[in-house]
């Protein structure tokens, strides 16, 4: 029975990681921007969502507010900071780490250093009983469903719409897309906004699951990086498969080898990189 329980745990963490990593992988692949601020977007989105829940009691509004406020914030960070770095990835890493440090201290001043838990909507509280005497938190169950829906929507957008086709073309060859008369700048802004929206929203979803506290920005960023690296830069399918793998490995490792649970996530990644440095779905550089 525990095998099933752990699979559910793996899928629920995977769903959360997918929400965060799907946008992350697109910023890497399409925009070629190495943004370390993504973890902070998650945490800040969660905090903003938390305040919205405190004031209105509405979880859905919190999801929306967390996502859109981060999308707006990201617009300014991108427009006035990241764009000045051009193609210099090292400068982007340093710059975005600096942005994280500043935002983290601002968040600490506003929301304090306590570990804060975002209350899930009333209908999603408590456990549900599954066959075989398994109790499972209702919220996590719904998170899996939510993650699957977002995944499906993104996949349709990415694979079946014209904008999706342009985005994919942009990942392959940016200059060519530009030469064909498509305004790549506008496209970039759109994708970046979407990525930031997803990051902020995942913070709200994750706040009710992992709780929000200073330092969470790095913990979640590391996991999202693993997902992106395992799945392959710029690949939406890679982010889906990668987050399920990381979620499952994490859950089974915590159960079977609790002392090695941090190690267990990174070991498969190291092995994979030895044999397939571009990740599972990544394109050869």
């Amino acid at each position: 029975m525990n095998w099933i329980l752990q699979a559910l745990n793996g899928f629920s963490l995977g769903a959360l990681l997918f929400l965060l990593a799907s946008g992350f992988t697109l910023t890497f692949g399409l925009l070629r921007v190495v943004s370390m601020a993504h973890g902070m977007y998650y945490l800040l989105g969660g905090y903003i969502g938390l305040s919205v829940v405190w004031f209105t009691g509405n979880f859905w509004l919190a999801l929306l507010a967390g996502g859109s406020s981060i999308a707006i914030l990201n617009y300014f960070v991108n427009r006035y900071l990241i764009r000045r770095t051009g193609e210099n990835h090292l400068a982007q890493v340093l710059l975005t780490v600096g942005v994280v440090l500043i935002l983290a201290d601002i968040a600490l001043t506003i929301w304090g250093g306590d570990s804060l838990s975002l209350p899930p909507p009333a209908f999603a509280r408590g456990p549900i009983e599954l066959p075989g005497n398994i109790f499972y938190p209702k919220y996590r169950f719904l998170l899996i469903v939510f993650g699957a829906i977002i995944g499906a929507v993104l996949w349709i957008f990415y694979r079946k719409t014209q904008i999706g086709a342009i985005v994919r073309a942009g990942v392959e060859d940016r200059e060519m897309v530009n030469a064909m008369g498509i305004n790549i700048d506008r496209l970039f802004t759109l994708v970046f906004a979407l990525a930031a929206f997803l990051a902020g929203m995942s913070g709200v979803a994750g706040g009710a699951f992992l709780s929000l506290y200073p330092g969470a920005e790095w913990e979640i960023l590391v996991l999202a990086l693993v997902v992106v690296i395992v799945g392959g830069l710029g690949s939406l399918e890679g982010a889906m498969v990668g987050s399920v793998i990381v979620g499952l490995v994490d859950a089974y490792a915590r159960w079977l080898l609790p002392e090695f649970s941090h190690f267990a996530v990174f070991a498969p990644m190291a092995v994979l990189l030895l044999f397939r440095p571009q990740g599972l779905f990544g394109k050869e550089a």
Partner: protein, 413 residues
Amino acid sequence: MERRKKRAHMVGIISILFLAFVVTYGASPALTAEPIRIGFMAPMKGPLAKPGEDLLNGFKLFWKQNGLEVGGRTVKILYADSACNPDTAMTQARRLIHAEKVDLIIGGLCGHVGPALAQVSRETGVPVLVMPGADELTKWDIVPTFVRLSVSASQIGHPMGDYLYNVLGARNVTFIGQDYAWGHGLTLGAAKTFKEAGGKVAKILWTPIGTADYGPLLASIPTDTDWVVANVVGADRLRLFNAWFNFGYDRKYKIAGGYWLHSDALFQLDDKAVDLIAQCNIYSAGLDTPENKAFVKAFIKEYKTVPSWMAEAAYTMGLFVKETIEALNGKLDDKMAFVDTILKVKVNAPRGPVSLDKYHNPIQNVYISKVEKVNDPVLGEIMINVPIKTYKNVSQFWTWNPKDFLAGGPYKR
């Protein structure tokens, strides 16, 4: 004309210098002595800024009540950020000693900062009074000028094992412990006394600090367990609490906190927390003594929150420093005399009577607390820790002979 102007200038400058001299040194003959300089270190940024702030508030409250004056000298407190990082703590401690010329250093919070501060104390001879709980510092690695004023990890582990067996009637216990020095002392200390009483340890689940999700871990509790003991810190406390009830484990096992539901975590818990055994610790905010009631009332009035055990520990550090300096009549030149005196001081702290053993660690009461809902005149309806059993004057060696205990070596997994 030129010369006269110059001379007038000279006279002006000299008279200003003279005036400045009189104002600084002459005007207040009563306070000829230099102020006592105390360096206070706590993490002020990052993940542990909140407990760091508790420490700071407890210490500030003490000096606010006592007017920054002791033994006929004024007290000047110099703050530094220990950042929960041994390197930073060392650099800051050396700065306080060499640049700021402090007479003693108080503070620290994280376990691994303790040895770093002990090292600085060893090389400079400046007394360091700390919070952190790494057991070794008051057992095998004693530094002459280093004193712990809070608690060593296993000191509150030992009574928990006794309580589990003799009061709760637990026979087969699973411990959830955190995999670092302080966690080892807590959990292995409790496991030791529990086994000596006759209990069986079903399993110890070691987890890293910052375990994001306790759901998977809880599935590995052996099914024949009767009690589960939670020894977790920081954000893990809340996450374990949520996972415990969301996964329905409350229907399968009984849980007791060895180090779990402290005051600073309570405000986020729901009613399921009420009546749970919260912690086995040196302080419980609901303690019914005049000293504690006055302290809690003053703390709530000042900071609008219930004092955590960190806040109480820092407040009591103030008490110790005051008593010691008064016994020395304000003379702090002889550092060893300071240490010898503080080892003899006894204080009636909010947490009860505290004195020090010859290994530089406190002998004090340990309280088993449970969570209760109460009405506070300022804060309204709140949850608070209330003691349900008191172990009086607990030594870091529990009931064993120190020599035998020391021969056994530190708690290591």
